[in-house]
Symmetry: C2
Subunit: 402 residues, 2 copies
């Protein structure tokens, strides 16, 4: 039932403990659901209540602590012994009087961990200001260290099995992109394209069903192509508009994002002029990437490529990607941007998304790539260009359908 | 373009300021994306980076502060003047050296707010321990009060326009449930049912396109029906299995959740015996609900109803529901459970989901209802029973379609 061999989970745990030792952390409290999954196998949509995985430096297995209703899921979905699953009663859920961290702290006190050195994921969504306050109040003799991105940094280099899952996610991403692009026609509604994309992201392939992506597809349209993080409405597409589709295929929580821009009929001149510049920049980057380079050096390849055409880009070009949960598929470790000193190594995986956004238009063409022994390879093989649809869907005789 | 009249946003703001005054808060920092949307109209999937809406007690309009890339979305999607949209540069995003709250605190200092009394949403997902730490470090003369659920409490009573949006969400929920249930047959895959549900959630109706729900559909199957928060896999359904479908229709970010349990062919005896007990309990609750009751009193109606059959339920029965973003469609205010003293008022809306989960099976039948002047009414009108599908899909001649 587990997506990986138990040995792989244990190897991940060993690397995590190495980093804990370096940082002087006895007990690591993991609230990032991707990190929980990475070390234990746990996979459920239960992260809307407080829960955590606890890694103790001298214990062979982590503890899972969460809501009573979800404990059975932890028994079924993780490799640990049942006795390592600990549940808090339901009256701790969304209550003003009882906080789950009070319960969790009492577990630590009972186990004699009250004066240990704890690592906490200070800037993770699912570790709130209140959670930290309650932990500190209930563990007055403990010390706390920031363990942000500790497990994330272990996640950066993928195993062959993880890469295989990303290849499956890539097949799903390509299929959803084909179906989504094909549905972008004058008179169609944005929500119908979103529906078509989601259908194919989830039904997946005959061999491999799809999982939900950590972010919904983005579908900025017309002038809103200058605003990258808008979702869809129920407005109809019009002839002459451009539409950006940014999506990710997902398999076993591993993501391969892919973005393309499609014009409904003849593109605006400025968009048509911009597209080859973006594609040349991406090609230059993909040709240059090899192990040993830094992320900052990768960015400079892009910067020099577009500078020839008088274009600058402020925002980052991309980021490390893989296993994740809402609200983000990025790993929050390396970014492809000026000054990032992360050194590329084989089996690191990045979403290269050098979006260019101007006043009333923008373009996104992206690739997810794996660093190989000598260079890099993309996960998907989708035409890397500004896509141009006939404005209406035509039947075999050339008549307009619908 | 805004889903509500500006006057409605301003009325919400007025109620929020009333509560701020009561609590002695000068400046309210809102990080819950549902609360940001509620007061400003802002709607984008940008909550994976730090952002906030700032309500100052003596200013007519809030400030939106967020990432440079998203600022234009704030200009387009909110009712405020452009000058009230403030953006931080991209090097603050997912960086170890620069935190967005450093930038945001500097804005407050520049505006002379450095020694004010700030309200913060201490237990919200998107207000991390680190965010609070950086704010306090950069605003040493400020005081901080917990403003958790302050805006959420204003959200509890819906306007007629909000109810209208929930009715549209309800139509979408019903349609997705019909299509999802119909697809649950032996040999079909869980992921194909999830795909079918999502397609109909998003394509919506001819008049109203669907929005993404704050939680993905839950699809626990077979023995996993005892575990409520599992999502789907690519396993095939088998004859004799039960499947729980919990989903929500969503329109303009307003949710109407709906859960049903469907058996593929003849149900297990224990499930068939349990179903009428659950339905009777729900009917008893819906008959009893009226303004003036407390949520705790509503729970006792259920408790007495199922006690007749020797059944007890530990977990809460339901919760306030409406406008929301991932990871939860619940409003985190009132819960229908023992001891909750919230008094029901007209146009409060709840998801009543008295799931019963046992060792190897479970049942979920739910209704979302609105409190009316005299009682309550459900948003959807879907058969309230254990659903039983023929195991295989049959053609018009009675042959098996697979």
């Amino acid at each position: 039932m587990l997506p990986f061999e138990i040995l792989e989970y244990q190897e991940r745990l060993r690397k995590t403990k190495e980093l804990m030792t370096k940082k002087g952390i006895d007990v690591l409290l993991i609230t990032d659901p991707a990190n929980m999954n990475y070390l234990s196998g746990y996979d459920a949509w239960s992260f809307y209540v407080h829960q955590m995985l606890v890694v103790m430096i001298d214990e062979a297995q982590p503890l899972w602590i969460g809501r009573y209703l979800d404990a059975k899921g932890a028994v079924v979905k993780t490799w640990m012994f049942d006795e390592n699953v600990i549940a808090y009663p339901d009256f701790y859920v969304h209550s003003e009087d009882n906080h789950p961290m009070d319960f969790i702290a009492s577990v630590f006190n009972q186990r004699g961990l009250g004066s240990k050195s704890f690592g906490v994921e200070m800037d993770h969504y699912y570790f709130t200001a209140k959670a930290f306050e309650q932990l500190r109040r209930n563990l007055p003799n403990a010390s706390f260290k920031n363990a942000d991105l500790l497990v994330n940094s272990v996640r950066m280099i993928k195993s062959d099995q993880e890469i295989e899952y990303m290849r499956r996610a890539a097949m799903i991403a390509e299929q959803a992109m084909y179906k989504g692009v094909d549905s972008v026609r004058a008179g169609g509604r944005e929500c119908d394209t979103a529906a078509m994309i989601y259908y194919h992201l989830l039904t997946g392939t005959t061999e491999h069903g799809g999982d939900y992506p950590a972010i919904v597809p983005f579908l900025p349209t017309g002038q809103n192509t200058s605003i990258p993080h808008l979702t869809w409405t129920d407005k109809q597409f019009s002839e002459g508009e451009a539409v950006i589709i940014e999506l990710a295929g997902c398999y076993q929580r591993y993501h391969v994002p892919l973005a393309r821009t499609v014009s409904i009929g003849k593109p605006l001149d400025k968009l048509q002029n911009l597209a080859p510049i973006a594609v040349e920049g991406i090609n230059d980057v993909l040709t240059a990437v090899k192990p040993g380079m830094t992320c900052g050096e990768v960015e400079s390849v892009w910067r020099n490529s577009i500078k020839k055409y008088g274009i600058e880009k402020e925002s980052r070009l991309g980021y490390s990607v893989g296993l994740n949960y809402p609200p983000d598929w990025g790993e929050h470790t390396a970014s492809i941007r000026k000054g990032d000193t992360t050194i590329l190594k084989p089996n690191m995986t990045f979403h290269l998304i050098p979006g260019l956004w101007f006043d009333t238009y923008g373009i996104e063409i992206s690739e997810t790539f794996r660093v190989t022994e000598k260079g890099c390879e993309t996960f998907t093989n989708y035409p890397r260009e500004l896509l141009i649809n006939t404005p209406f869907r035509l039947d075999q005789q050339g008549g307009i359908i619908s």
